[in-house]
């Protein structure tokens, strides 16, 4: 019995569960010899490089875009990966939208043939005032951490209400970053769906708008949603 307890204590020390240095018995020291080493740094770097190549290939896989026409905002383009929506834009040409996707995602997007119908349908209904919220998966993986958090916070602002850049900054735990919040929203990759139009300056002025048409579009969207004019 005593022997068993000693052995247990020995293992606990070896695992770092109990204080003290372990004496090194056969199995434990053999385990250390087998497993304590690390892969060589150049092998780790090679593995990471291979991984990054695979990930950029994965990112480029299956980006499709499409558009709807005849909306109050004109032709609206949208793009999605297999995981979800990545981009919405209006007031620009097809060529400009493709250029934008190439710059933002590093991919040559293909025109969709029907796969993105659900996105187009929801956008059309929304802009016609027949839909109050979007039910679409979003793919925010390519975005920097800060912008992603800002956009997720903007997504929480309910229809018909507005909030301020400072309030968003506060919500993401960066109260002094109101200006950076403004910039992150200014580069909202999917206006309308992520409602950056519901975020205004602290004096109530609309400030800028990331979508085509500038503040005029922002005012139109707020009116569409019945936001009280403050």
């Amino acid at each position: 019995m005593k022997k068993t307890n000693d052995e247990l204590m020995e293992v606990s020390r070896w695992l770092g569960d109990a204080p003290g240095a372990p004496s090194r018995d056969g199995v434990l020291s053999a385990l250390d010899a087998l497993y304590r080493g690390f892969p060589a740094p150049e092998h780790t770097r090679a593995a990471q490089a291979k991984l990054r190549r695979a990930l950029s290939g994965e990112r480029a896989r299956g980006v499709r875009y499409d558009s709807i026409t005849g909306t109050p905002l004109g032709r609206v383009f949208f793009a999605a990966t297999t995981a979800g929506l990545v981009s919405v834009a209006f007031g620009q040409s097809e060529r400009a939208f493709r250029d934008h996707l190439r710059a933002a995602l590093g991919v040559e997007a293909a025109r969709a043939s029907g796969q993105l119908r659900r996105i187009g349908q929801q956008l059309r209904e929304y802009l016609a005032g027949r839909r109050t919220r979007f039910d679409l998966p979003l793919d925010l993986r390519a975005l920097p951490d800060f912008q992603r958090r800002v956009l997720l916070a903007a997504l929480e602002v309910p229809r018909g209400q507005v909030t301020t850049y400072g309030e968003i900054a506060h919500r993401i735990g960066r109260p002094s970053a109101a200006r950076a919040v403004g910039q992150a929203l200014g580069h909202n990759p999917m206006p309308i769906v992520i409602p950056c139009h519901r975020v205004v300056a602290s004096d109530g002025s609309l400030r800028g708008y990331s979508g085509g048409g500038g503040p005029r579009t922002k005012a139109w969207l707020l009116a569409l949603e019945g936001a009280s004019d403050k």
């Binding site: 052995e7 247990l8 293992v11 070896w14 695992l15 770092g16 018995d25 056969g26 199995v27 434990l28 053999a30 385990l31 010899a33 087998l34 497993y35 304590r36 080493g37 690390f38 892969p39 092998h43 780790t44 090679a46 593995a47 990471q48 291979k50 991984l51 990054r52 695979a54 990930l55 994965e58 995981a83 979800g84 998966p137 979003l138 793919d139 925010l140 993986r141 390519a142 975005l143 920097p144 951490d145 992603r148 958090r149 997720l152 993401i172 735990g173």
Partner: protein, 165 residues
């Protein structure tokens, strides 16, 4: 409420996860393949993870699944390969002693390969990846007590097998 972009997860955790996979599969090229597979799986699932903070345990969980699947496939495919044993230059050992040492290491490595999956993973996570029992529990989807029990059972089993009772 942090939610890093995926690239910063790769930057923060890929070296650590690679070391883990390297220990689990004990083959350089296999560990590279597993690393790629694990992070691709993570990337595809990433958007469904909104708001979660446990990225490290989550990556370990995926890596564990990838490694165990890989080991099963490898075990089935090939006549079991000779376990990888490091060459340990040790001036204090005679040639004969060195040979005995290599045999011991090979026997221990083979015994580790025969451990139940959860025990093998738990042992490596605790001792060589320095995870807490709570983190191992997150990784293996069990309680912290079960994680701890797995580690101790692994060592007990190895000692029994190798006649060190």
């Amino acid at each position: 409420m942090t939610h890093p972009d995926f690239e910063s997860l790769v930057g923060a955790h890929s070296a650590e996860i690679f070391a883990y996979l390297w220990r689990m599969v004990r083959d350089e090229a296999d560990a590279q393949d597993c690393l790629q597979e694990a992070f691709l799986r993570a990337y595809r699932a990433y958007d469904r993870l909104d708001g979660r903070a446990q990225h490290r345990a989550w990556l370990y969980r995926i890596a564990t699944n990838v490694a165990l699947t890989h080991l099963k496939r490898r075990g089935r495919e090939a006549a079991r390969r000779v376990p990888l044993v490091p060459n340990l230059p040790d001036a204090q050992l005679s040639a004969g002693e060195a040979a005995i040492r290599r045999e011991t290491l090979a026997a221990v490595a083979a015994a580790v390969e025969r451990l139940p999956e959860q025990q093998r993973a738990a042992l490596i996570l605790r001792k060589y990846q320095a995870l807490s029992y709570a983190e191992i529990a997150d990784t293996l989807g069990c309680s912290a007590e079960a994680a701890r029990a797995n580690v101790y059972q692994a060592i007990k089993k190895l000692r029994n097998e190798l006649g060190e009772e």
